[in-house]
């Protein structure tokens, strides 16, 4: 049996922890455990779960559960994961207009890495990124799998206002700003898609444990979106 642990997080939540590493295989266990709890286990009294890199926060109804009984269920969860067919992760396609006013830092990213702008775009959009988790602000995906070839340090002076949909690089991470906010990421492009749209039945485009891929579009295509 693998390295698995359950810790109390107050009197109404518990944390199920897998190995203490950032690793796609470990994250897929988090996703499987999460999926099993909601779609296979038929357990009552679970209120909400928060899947992250290597752990799952489980909020429970204290009328139904006490920590010890939930802990014993969660400790044995790996034995039950076969009982439910876990769908393959999906890949979310994100259109991006690279460079220009939409990605004012793309020249810097290219220079910093001794690449052409075209090479930066090619490297950035050819990878499939694992959505390890969402957090920070609603709909913000923590993505894994960016090539070190385009890694670039953050801005020394963060911008006070970054438009929603901006795609950026910070160190060896890439990400998308779902909402207009301040931030220090190097901006290389922008997507016309809304990652977070509270008016939709399904308000969040990125889902934890799934994959995300960028594809380049022209400025004209960008403007023709909704």
């Amino acid at each position: 049996m693998s390295d698995i642990n359950v810790l109390p997080a107050g009197d109404q939540a518990a944390v199920l922890e897998f190995e203490n590493r950032i690793d796609p295989d470990i994250n897929s266990k988090v996703r499987a455990a999460d999926y099993y709890l909601w779609h296979g286990s038929e357990l009552e009294g679970l209120l909400e779960t928060v899947p992250t890199y290597r752990s799952l926060l489980v909020y429970y109804d204290p009328v139904v559960w006490d920590f010890e009984s939930l802990k014993s269920v969660l400790l044995n969860i790996e034995e039950h994961l076969q009982e439910v067919a876990i769908p393959n992760p999906e890949t979310l396609e994100i259109p991006v207009v690279y460079g220009g006013e939409y990605g004012p830092d793309i020249d810097y990213v290219a220079e910093h890495n001794n690449l052409s702008v075209e090479e930066v775009i090619e490297i950035h959009h050819s990878a499939a990124y694992l959505i390890y988790m969402l957090g920070f602000v609603p709909g913000f995906p923590y993505l894994g799998g960016m090539s070190q070839q385009i890694a670039t340090p953050r801005l020394e002076n963060p911008r006070t206002q970054i438009p929603a949909g901006s795609v950026g690089i910070a160190g060896s991470q890439t990400g998308i700003y779902p909402l207009e906010s301040p931030g220090g990421w190097r901006l290389i492009g922008r997507t016309p898609l809304k990652l977070f749209d509270p008016t939709k039945d399904d308000p969040f485009l990125p889902k934890p444990g799934h994959y995300l891929k960028f594809y380049p579009i022209s400025e004209q295509e960008f403007k023709s979106y909704g």
């Binding site: 107050g10 109404q12 926060l57 957090g135 308000p203 969040f204």
Partner: protein, 339 residues
């Protein structure tokens, strides 16, 4: 039909209900009333759904113009409610108001947050199953923002029957210093034995950096064994993080849903409403309880709340209630006519 107009919002006022659940996995905090006890009791008193939307104000309440005859109540932090400049009411007392009345809610003198609850509950748009304002997500309430003044707010028409005022000797207390029960974990092992002792024995104070997201405390330094970061994980309500600056932060209703600081302990669920009434400058310390002790205290808390809830939902028994000041002390007096 618009029921109230916000003439002046006060220092910080938002629309809140019971919260928006099920979206923490997408990075969305639940938001919701910080002091659920005061918030729910007010709704029950007016015959509203316990989760009806209200105005949550901080430090001082709003000034309102009443647009249609209705009933309202202010609950939570102690304050005086002035109607038309010549009638004074207390918290936890239903107030019958008429169109064109002016309602001014004074500064809070105990606690820090209050609720203006209008019969029926505020009818702002439901966004993702809740009316709560979540500022960081720019959703809920009035355009996802704090009130700025000038808003006209509608109420829902349906409600149950009016209950009765809660006498002063039964009002929840919010007197500092606060001693808050905590359950150790999930990352207590990131702290030295001395650090854990400092956390449990130390006297802390709520700093100015305290809002609906969380409260940063100041006090003795809590030492980590080594690093002050973890691989980011979920942050439960009431989690107490200790970043590299070694000062604890209590995570509240608008918290980030995930974070990379180790959490030394988590406040017990029955302490959250009191934390919601703690303000900058208040003293605060932590008391370790086991999960069994927390369960027992939670049962006691539930019983206490249930009794209050049952009391306020009963119809008035014909008694009249007065606030009387004798020798500078305030009394809540109930008088019944016996012909």
């Amino acid at each position: 039909m618009q029921a109230i107009k916000v003439l002046e919002p006060g220092p910080f006022t938002t629309v809140q209900d019971g919260g928006r659940f099920g979206y923490q996995r997408y990075g969305m905090a639940p938001a919701g009333a910080m002091d659920e006890v005061a918030y729910r009791l007010g709704n029950l008193m007016l015959g509203n759904d316990a989760n009806a939307a209200s105005l949550e104000f901080t430090l001082k309440g709003p000034r309102l113009e009443i647009l249609q005859d209705t009933i309202l109540v202010v609950t939570g932090g102690r304050c005086v409610i002035n109607v038309n400049g010549n009638q004074e009411y207390s918290v936890y007392e239903p107030i019958v108001v008429k169109a064109n009345d002016q309602v001014e809610i004074e500064w809070i003198t105990e606690g820090v947050r209050g609720y203006v609850i209008v019969q029926g509950g505020l009818d702002v748009p439901v966004v993702m199953q809740s009316r709560s304002t979540y500022l960081r997500g720019k959703i809920g309430g009035v355009e996802g923002a704090r009130l700025r003044g000038g808003e006209e707010l509608a109420v829902l028409e349906e409600h149950g029957s009016l209950g009765r005022a809660l006498p002063e000797d039964r009002w929840p207390l919010y007197q500092p210093p606060f001693v808050i029960d905590v359950i150790m974990g999930p990352q207590t092992d990131f702290f030295t034995e001395e650090g854990i002792k400092t956390f449990l024995d130390g006297d802390f104070q709520i700093s100015e950096a305290a809002d609906r997201m969380g409260y940063r405390l100041t006090g003795p330094e809590i030492m980590h064994v080594d690093k002050a970061d973890i691989i980011s994980d979920g942050i439960p309500l009431g989690a107490i993080q200790v970043p590299g600056h070694r000062q604890p932060i209590i995570m509240m209703k608008d918290r980030q849903t995930t974070g990379g600081y180790p959490k030394i302990a988590t406040a017990a669920s029955y302490e959250i409403y009191r934390l919601g009434q703690a303000k900058p400058g208040d003293g605060l310390s932590f008391k370790k309880v086991t999960l069994e002790e927390a369960k027992e205290k939670k049962d006691g808390f539930d019983k206490w709340y249930q009794e209050l809830a049952e009391y306020v939902t009963q119809p008035d028994d014909g008694k009249k209630h007065f606030r009387v000041i004798v020798d500078d002390k305030s009394y809540f007096v109930s008088i019944k006519e016996i012909d």
